[in-house]
Amino acid sequence: MSRRRAVNLGLDALTWLVLAVMLAPIFWLVISAFQDDLELATGAYDLLSPTFDAFTGMWQTIDFERFFVNSLVICTVAALLATAFASSAGYALARFKFRGSRTFGLTVIGTQLIPGSMFLLPLFIGFIWINQNVGIPLYDTHLGMIIVYTAFFTPVAIFFMRSFFLAIPRDLEEAAMVDGCTPFKAFVKIVLPNAAPGLLATFVYAFLFAWDELLFVANLTQDTAETIPIGIRTFIGNYQQRTAQLMAAGVVSTLPVLIAFFATQRWLVKGLTAGAVKG
C-alpha cells in the first residue's frame, strides 16, 4: 500500500511538472513584456521592478490600435456570420435526410483538404475583377476579409452545430409543430434558444481561428484592413528592435482570445470533444 501511495504522489508531482513546462513559455512572454529593451538584450531580467513602459509604448511605435481594431471588427463579424450560416446548415444536416445531404456533408469536409494557396490567387483576381466590373471594393477592405473568413470557418462550425442540435430532443419541435408552428418558426423560436450554449461555443471557435489567420490577410490586404498578425511583425524590422514592445503586443493580442475561451470553455470543450465521445 505504501508503494502505491508513493507512486500516486510521484504522478501528482509529474502532473504539476507537465503543467509547469507547458505554461513556462507563456510565463516567459508575460515577464518579458514587463522588462525594458536593455534588460531583454542583455538577458539581465529584473523581476522585482516590472515596468509598464512596453505596454504604453507599443501603441506609439506602430499604429497597433488600427491592427487591433481591424482584427476585432473582422473576426467578430465573420464569426457571427459563420455561426448563423453554420447553425442553419447544421440544423438541416442534423434533422433532415434530403437529396444531396451526403454530397453536401462531404463537400463541407472536402473544403478542409484544399490548400489555401490553391484558391488565394484566384480569389485575389476575383476581388480585382469584382471591383472593376461591379464596383464593390473587396481587396484591402473589411468586407473582403469578412467574406473570406466567414467562408473559412463555416464548414467546421457546421459539424459543431450539428452535434449540438443532435443533442436536443426532437419532441420539442414536434410539439411546437403540432401546435401549428411552421418548421422555420420552430427552428427559430424553439431550437435555437435551446442551442444557445452551442451557438456561443461555435462563435468563439470561429473567432479564435479567424484571429489566428495569416495567409489570406497577408496577401489580400495592404493597409486599411491589415490585422494583428501582420502588424506584430513590424515591431522588429530594419530600423527598430523593440523586443519588449513585441512581447507586450503578444500579451495584448492573446488576451481577447484567452478571455473569450475561458469565459465559454465549458461549452466550447463540449463542442470540440463532441466527436470524441459519441463512439
Binding site: P25, L29, T107, L121, V148, L166, A167, P197, I232, T254
Partner: protein
C-alpha cells in the same frame, strides 16, 4: 434547459422521412425550407473555396509570371509545362521544391507523431483523480489558445543564440551542452518551428483523448483487473483499441493541418525561412507573391492537394473499420 444539451447523448432518431400521406405542397415547402437552411453555407463555400479552386487548377496550366501577370486568366497556356519544370527539369525551382517537400515531410512526421503520442500520454496523466485536477486540465489548454503568430514571435525570441532562454537553460544554467546551438539559422531551424508547433498542438490532442478516456466504461478495466491484467496490458488491450477512432481522426486532420502550416515559419523567419526550414506553403507563397511565379505556385498547390487526397485514401483504407464502429 442546459441539462438536455450534452452532446454525449445524441438522439436516436435523427433522420425523418418526409410525411408520405400529406400532399405535395407540404413536401415542396419542406424542401424549400431545407434549401434555405443550407443556401448561405453553400453560397459562401462556392464563392470562396470551390470556384477559386477551379481557377487555381486552371492557372496551373498557364505561364503566369511577372511579365504576363497583367493578362491574368488570359496568360499564355503552357499545358503541363509548370508540372514538368517542377518534377523533371533540373533547375533551381525544382531544387527549392524538393527541399521544401523534404522539410515538410520531416515537419509533419515529428509534429503529428509527437502531438498525438504526447497528447495521449498527458491525457492518461490528467485522467487521474487528484486535488486541483479540474483547474490543471483547464490551464493545460492555454498554449493552444495562444495565437500562432504570438507563438512564433515568442519562440523566435526564446531561440536567440546569445540571450535566448533556451540556450541559457541548456548551456549556462544546466551545463547540458558546452556550446551554444544556433537555432534560427542552419539545420536546427526546422526544429525551431517543429518544437513550438508541438507545444501548441499538445493541449488539443490531450483534450480529445481525455474526453475519450472519460467516456470509457469503467467496467471493462475493472473486469480485466480482476482477471489479473496489469496496467500496461489494460492500456494495450482495452484503452488503446477504444481510442483508435480518436487517434484516426487526430491523424487525419493533424497531417493535413501540419502540411498546410504557414503562420509559424512565416512570422518567425519572414517570407524566406532558408533552405532548412522552408515548408510547402512558405515556398508557394514566396514564389507566387514575392517572385510573381504564379503558374509555378498554382502547380505546386495542385500537387500538394493531390498528395492530400492520396493521404486521405491511404488513411481511409487503414482506418475504415474504426469509422464503422464510431
Amino acid at each position: 434547459m442546459t441539462t438536455q444539451l450534452s452532446p454525449t447523448e445524441p438522439t436516436a432518431h435523427v433522420i425523418v422521412d418526409p410525411p408520405r400521406r400529406r400532399g405535395s405542397s407540404l413536401r415542396s415547402s419542406r424542401s424549400r425550407f431545407i434549401a434555405a437552411l443550407v443556401a448561405p453555407a453553400i453560397l459562401f463555400m462556392l464563392i470562396v473555396h470551390l470556384l477559386p479552386t477551379v481557377g487555381g487548377f486552371y492557372l496551373s496550366f498557364k505561364n503566369l509570371n511577372l511579365f504576363t501577370f497583367r493578362q491574368l486568366f488570359d496568360a499564355p497556356w503552357i499545358g503541363l509545362g509548370n508540372y514538368e519544370a517542377i518534377l523533371f527539369q533540373d533547375n533551381p525551382l525544382r531544387t527549392g521544391f524538393m527541399g521544401a517537400v523534404q522539410n515538410t515531410a520531416v515537419y509533419v512526421f515529428w509534429t503529428v507523431s509527437a502531438t498525438i503520442g504526447g497528447g495521449l500520454a498527458i491525457a492518461l496523466l490528467m485522467n487521474r483523480d487528484m486535488r486541483g485536477i479540474k483547474v490543471i486540465r483547464t490551464l493545460m489548454l492555454t498554449p493552444w489558445i495562444v495565437p500562432s503568430f504570438v507563438v512564433a514571435v515568442l519562440w523566435q525570441y526564446m531561440w536567440q543564440s546569445d540571450i535566448g532562454i533556451v540556450n541559457k537553460l541548456l548551456v549556462d544554467y544546466s551545463g547540458l551542452l558546452d556550446e551554444r546551438p544556433v537555432w534560427l539559422i542552419g539545420p536546427n531551424s526546422l526544429w525551431a518551428i517543429i518544437i513550438p508547433s508541438i507545444w501548441r498542438g499538445l493541449p488539443f490532442a490531450m483534450l480529445i483523448f481525455l474526453a475519450g478516456l472519460q467516456a470509457m466504461p469503467k467496467e471493462l478495466h475493472e473486469a480485466a483487473a480482476i482477471d489479473g491484467a496489469g496496467p500496461f496490458k489494460r492500456f494495450r488491450y482495452i484503452t488503446l483499441p477504444l481510442l483508435r477512432p480518436l487517434i484516426a481522426v487526430q491523424l487525419l486532420f493533424g497531417v493535413i493541418y501540419a502540411t498546410y502550416q504557414f503562420a509559424i515559419p512565416y512570422v518567425m523567419f519572414g517570407s524566406n525561412p532558408g533552405p532548412h526550414a522552408d515548408l510547402m506553403m512558405t515556398l508557394i507563397v514566396r514564389q507566387s507573391f514575392s517572385n510573381n511565379l504564379f503558374g509555378f505556385g498554382s502547380a505546386v498547390s495542385v500537387l500538394l492537394m493531390m498528395a492530400m487526397f492520396v493521404w486521405v485514401a491511404i488513411w481511409y483504407r487503414a482506418f475504415k473499420r474504426d469509422l464503422e464502429v464510431a
